[in-house]
Amino acid sequence: MAQPGTDALPLRVAIIGAGPTGYYAADHLFKRQGLVVAIDMFDRLPTPYGLVRAGVAPDHQKIKSVTTTFDKIAANPNFRFYGCVDFGKDVTLADLRDHYHQILYATGAQTDRRMGIPGEDLRGSHPATEFVAWYNGHPDYRDYQYDLQHEQAAVVGIGNVAIDVARILCRSIDELRTTDIADYALDALRHSRIKEVYLLGRRGPAQAAFTNPEIKEVGEMADADIIVRPEEVQLDDLSRAAVEKSQDRATLKKVEILQGYALRKPTGKSRRLISRYLVSPVELIGNDAGQVMAMRLVKNILIAAPTGALQAKATDQFEELPVGLVFRSVGYRGVPLPGVPFHEKWGVILNEKGRVLDPDSHQPVIGEYTAGWIKRGPSGVIGTNKPDAAETVTCMVEDLARGAILHPSHPEPSAADALIRQRQPNCFSWEDWMRLDKLEVAMGQAVERPRVKFTRVADMLAALNR
């Protein structure tokens, strides 16, 4: 029998999830000297690119340009894309074990962590990820409704996602109209009555998770002022000592930008982005109809952990903030995949360096791997998934060398193709996506936008005359 990984029998790899990590893993596999690999990439959506399409903010087109790198990887003749194919439903783990030598899960962190406070489920309180997916035209979220008739909104958290949500809420229609934001979202935001958006950080400015370009950007919005309280961005003794010791230039710059904002006078723009620090929501307060009306905040101080990390500790000072809309962005976690061992606490697939582990024996499960956010939790930028995927691919190649792979009864690519098309006749190939992409870009050109997205699977099928 031929050795898998050769011309006679290419190593067959299934990648679940067409986000950045999946492409980086495919790239690492293709670039391995002496390894012949044939990759099928699956996504439950018809469209590829994961969070680059459905997560990265529409006013950050430059970041989305990373897709040109992914397109080059997808152009490899040994790469196939199967969009609109749901793992666990359209194809099962048993199906994949029957057709591939190795399976790689790269499904990302699809859901929000909860705040764990009373009132969290009141009407008007939403996970930030759903709002992000909504304004980016994700088919699963395009019919969600957000009541933008309130004048005050709060975003809990100060990572880049939180700041994206706050910025989109504050942008003028003229700023948004030139992006690829979903049409219905543009329309809803056109009628938005939001005046004030609070961005709430539980720790101080030196610990804020957002990056400097993002905080700088919100100081330059066309029709929204940035408001920062001077007393909240003065460094406490612990933070000052930490910053002075590390001399970390990015943190120094971040604090400098925020202290600069604190000196600004409001210029009378229509909206205000109010960036608060050292506060945590302890309760959402609703009216009789179950609608959020206000948020109770506790003031925090910072304390040093034994490792030197600064953590927020609640005081006994409270305040109430009138808000009708709340988005929580306090962390993300993965969603378990059917039949795949999951670590509930971390919200990731149970793994060691990317090898999926059996939950009882803690030994690797042969042929199953993971990479990206579903492997390590949500951290870093898009490119962080490249070294992460490399670590997993190294394990995959090592295991191939010692014969610890699956032995599928149908390793020939045509068998998998036939099975997938039978299970999901509406599946999208890479060529289908390329055609859809051209149509979206052409629709965009007509109205001077980067693209106009299809946001319903039925519309995507119809556009391809299917």
Partner: protein
């Protein structure tokens, strides 16, 4: 990035030893698992110390009978522990300054993992590599 992101891909394994066990047993465990330190735990599984290969070497340099000593006689008992939410910049600088190579991680008093200086360096290296890669792509895109 925080300690949780390291533990998530390290697997749940953390090797422990009891204080009354011998140094011989500690060495056997270090060799078997190819690691540099063991967390010393009490009956309840609570970390009460750490014993590293360096602790053992230092003792062995002046004591031929090191093997039969108890772990409790040599271990470092003032052990610094981390929590999953501790950020890696602080953790890395504290480990470097205090010359700590192994940091037990506890959650609500329970030992849930161990992080080495190598783990922290690797996580930070990967983060910086990722940032550089993402920035390069954006710059190249701007030039085309």
């Amino acid at each position: 990035m925080n300690i949780a992101s390291i533990l998530a891909r390290k697997g749940p394994k953390v090797f422990t030893i009891r204080p009354e066990q011998s140094i011989r047993a500690a060495i056997a465990s270090l060799a078997e698992h190819d690691i540099g330190a063991l967390v010393v735990v009490d009956e309840a599984g609570k970390p009460i110390g750490i014993i590293s290969e360096r602790d053992i070497v230092r003792e062995a340099a002046g004591n031929e009978r090191v093997f039969s000593k108890a772990v409790s006689e040599i271990m470092t008992s003032h052990v610094i522990v981390g929590t999953p939410q501790d950020d890696l910049v602080s953790v890395g600088s504290t480990m470097t300054e205090k010359r700590i190579r192994h940091l037990p991680v506890v959650d609500k008093g329970r030992l849930i993992g161990i992080v080495t200086l190598g783990d922290v360096v690797k996580a930070q290296r990967d983060q910086y590599r990722g940032e550089v890669d993402t920035l390069q792509i954006q710059i190249m895109e701007e030039q085309t």
